[in-house]
């Protein structure tokens, strides 16, 4: 029993670390690698929870997560980076130190919120829930502090990882929900990929500040 939760906490911690490190990376390639690692650990966590809870659906979740998020999406992202020649692209929107301090504060908020509010529920999954909420908030923060559209997508995907982490940690979460979330993410990725192509065609860059400038003038 204690091994189950220790391992689950360890993997949750690694996922949180990956999400946090994404904030500190200026290069897209490094962010994608971190995302891949995050997804990999997530799939392992799902498999482990499936083993611990004796739930077939969680094995399936783990496999889907592995195939989709640890293999397919990083590959697609790398393709985009290569095709758009953004290997050397450097993010400049916000000082890294500042965004990391904000990220730390968000983790604090998540712990502060989850631990007292779930005092009455199952004690051992509370930390998992706190970690999952931290990952979600960090993903949102990533979407806000980055100006590059691809970095924002990575933030979005990372946020979704947090949701899946919360879902697999909770016993009794229906499989359909996880599956549909995964499908939605894939669809969103496709749509955004098309959008990125269009933006690229028009502006020769994925830096959204140009788009914002035009938006401001146009209205």
């Amino acid at each position: 029993m204690s091994l189950t939760f220790s391992l689950a906490h360890l993997m949750g911690g690694i996922i949180l670390l990956c999400a946090f490190l994404q904030l500190s990376q200026r290069r897209l390639a490094a962010m994608i690698t971190l995302y891949q690692l995050e997804a990999l650990i997530l799939s392992v966590a799902a498999l482990w929870q499936g083993y611990a809870q004796h739930e077939m659906a969680l094995y399936l979740t783990g496999l889907i997560t592995f195939a989709l998020k640890a293999v397919l999406l990083p590959w697609g992202l790398r393709e985009i980076v290569l095709r758009f020649n953004m290997v050397r692209a450097v993010e400049t929107a916000m000082p890294m130190a500042l965004s990391m301090i904000l990220g730390l504060a968000l983790i604090g908020v998540a712990v502060l919120v989850v631990l007292p509010t779930t005092m009455r529920s199952i004690s051992l999954t509370r930390e998992d829930l706190a970690i999952a909420l931290s990952v979600v908030l960090l993903g949102l923060l990533l979407m806000i502090v980055r100006r590059n559209a691809l970095a924002q997508i990575i933030g979005f995907l990372s946020m979704e990882n947090g949701l899946v982490l919360a879902a697999v940690g909770m016993p009794g979460m229906p499989f359909v929900a996880e599956f549909s979330v995964a499908l939605l993410v894939l669809l969103a990725f496709l749509v955004v990929g098309v959008f990125l192509l269009r933006i690229r065609e028009h502006f020769d860059t994925l830096d959204l500040s140009g788009l914002e400038e035009i938006e401001r003038r146009g209205r």
């Binding site: 908020v109 998540a110 502060l112 509010t117 979407m143 914002e212």
Partner: protein
């Protein structure tokens, strides 16, 4: 019909609503005869006023009141768009104050809300500056009914709540606050009535003044009622109610007349009128009657209420503590200035609009009254006569209302008897005529006419050079110099506008800019906003649970 769930709508008639209904009735008839018969909005307006007066429960009252506001807004909108918007804003403000106030338990808060809501609708300072803009905008019949009737309905709500429904929680400062607002209205209304060039605007400003007079009377009565002064309460109520009756008769008369001036000459600007008495003698005579009332000249309908009001203020100044004495003495001075200015305004309208030489071709070619307005004005003018000549009788008829409002009030018989005065003056005139015919110089004597300082107009200017006459602006200039600059400032705008509307506009502009900024926010900024809200919410949740 419909109403609050489980309660329905109730009508209720007592002496107070009967009195205000009687004030309303001749105006409605006159306005309908004067040409508003065919307008649906007009009849809805009348229905709303009647419903508000006859209401037996809060819902009916507020329903009638808002019906009146909405219909009159439509009617103002027919005239002009900008004042209609301003009017809608004031009506909404007044509704927002009245609706909670009607359902509150008797307390000072309820009174303040009622005074704000009904006062804004009645044009009581400092919420009066919409009135000189909105009242002149619609057709004359509606202007007449708005100025003479709608304002009275708002005052009716104020009276009913301040004197009857909230009587259990009465405080002396209610009356003092009402007196202060009324004194302010008298001063600003009378001053602007002298300064305004447009005839209808000047009349609307005079309405502000008369509302102020009524409010002073009501405030005095409230004050006397709270401090237990029976005689003062009686006199002050007599003054306020008689003023309401008189104003409800001569102001519609003047507004319908102003509408006829506009119809005949195409303008109501006093700077383009003049000499109308020659082309429109009947209108001139009827307007003169109304203006005698507006200027509160003796033997006119407006004199008795002012006389009573001065009595009440003098009575109040003679009692109470040193501060009250000083305050009421100052009030006496303010009312005196107001009366003088009102007289100046009346003289200015008759002197510049109806006497002298025409200032434009239209004024020279004006034709007399059409039939409908003539009937309306004659009706109102005829009703003015009893108010002017037998006010004592009217006050006796009103005594049930006064007893309803202040059960302990003593009502004294009026010491001013205009009918006797008129008969005596008639005898004196007869005697003078007799003396003149008996011992006067016989035969004709020719002498050059003085003609008010004017020579005969030159042949190439058939009715004289208009610019050799004093204009309306010029006539008001001394008043402007003595009082206007101090009270209205160099820009000549109403202080209420400067201190109330301009800051409001500024706030609105700022809010619009803020909204625009939000609308133009980039995706990241919007995300950041939502994110911040989320984090704050989580923090509150966590801290609330943890603490």
């Amino acid at each position: 019909m419909f109403g609050l769930p489980g309660q329905g709508m109730h009508l209720h008639l007592d002496a107070l609503s009967l009195l205000f209904g009687c004030i309303l009735l001749p105006q409605v008839v006159a306005a309908a005869v004067a040409g508003m018969r065919a307008s649906v909005a007009f009849w809805v307006f009348v229905l709303g006023m009647a419903l508000a007066l006859l209401a037996g429960d809060q819902f009916t009252l507020i329903f009638g009141f808002e019906l009146m506001s909405a219909a009159s807004w439509l009617l103002v909108l027919q005239g002009d768009r900008k004042p209609a918007t301003l009017y809608a804003g004031i009506a909404i403000f007044s509704g927002a104050c009245l609706i909670p106030a009607l359902f509150l338990p008797a307390s000072s808060l309820a009174f303040v809300l009622i005074a704000l809501g009904a006062g804004a609708k009645a044009g009581l300072a400092p919420l009066h500056s919409w009135l000189p803009r909105a009242h002149p905008a619609p057709p004359a019949g509606v202007s007449a009914l708005m100025s003479g009737g709608m304002v009275k309905v708002a005052l009716y709500v104020l009276i009913r709540y301040a004197f009857i429904n909230l009587a259990s929680a009465q405080q002396p400062w209610w009356g003092e606050a009402l007196v202060a607002a009324g004194a302010l209205s008298v001063l600003i209304g009378a001053l602007r009535a002298v300064l305004e060039v447009e005839l209808k605007t000047a009349l609307a400003c005079s309405t502000v003044e008369h509302v102020g007079l009524i409010a002073v009377g009501l405030g005095l009565a409230l004050y006397a009622k709270a401090s237990g002064d029976a005689a003062l309460a009686g006199v002050a109520l007599q003054a306020a109610l008689l003023c309401a009756v008189a104003h409800g008769l001569f102001k519609p008369l003047l507004f319908i007349g102003a509408g006829e001036v506009k119809h005949a000459t195409g303008t109501t600007s006093l700077n383009w009128l003049g000499g109308l008495m020659r082309g429109m003698p009947r209108l001139g005579a009827l307007m003169l009657l109304g203006l005698v009332g507006m200027g509160a000249l003796p033997l006119g309908p407006g004199f008795a209420p002012e006389f009573l009001l001065f009595h009440a203020v003098i009575g109040a100044a003679a009692t109470g503590g040193i501060l009250a004495r000083i305050g009421f003495s100052a009030l006496l001075a303010v009312l005196g200035i107001g009366a003088a200015l009102a007289l100046a305004a009346a003289v200015r309208i008759i002197g510049l609009g109806f006497l002298g030489r025409p200032r434009s071709l239209h004024a020279a070619a004006a034709e007399d009254l059409r039939r409908g307005p003539l009937v309306a004005m004659v009706l109102l003018g005829a009703l003015n006569v009893p108010v002017a000549l037998v006010p004592g009788l009217l006050l006796q008829l009103m005594s049930p209302v006064i007893l309803l409002l202040a059960p302990q009030a003593h009502t004294l018989p009026l010491t001013y008897a205009p009918l006797t005065l008129l008969i005596l003056a008639g005898f004196a005139a007869l005697a003078a005529g007799f003396v003149q015919t008996r011992w006067g110089v016989r035969g004709l004597q020719e002498a050059p006419a003085w003609n008010g300082g004017f020579g005969r107009p030159p042949a190439w200017l058939p009715f004289g050079d208009p610019h050799t006459q004093v204009s309306a602006t010029g006539f008001a200039e001394p008043v402007m110099r003595v009082m206007g600059k101090g009270l209205l400032g160099v820009s000549k705008t109403d202080p209420a506008e400067r201190f109330l509307f301009v800051p409001l506009f500024r706030v609105q502009t700022r809010l619009v800019r803020l909204a625009e900024r939000v609308r133009r926010a980039t995706i990241r900024e919007r995300l950041a906003f939502v994110f911040t809200v989320l984090v704050v919410f989580l923090l509150v949740l966590g801290l609330g649970e943890g603490g």
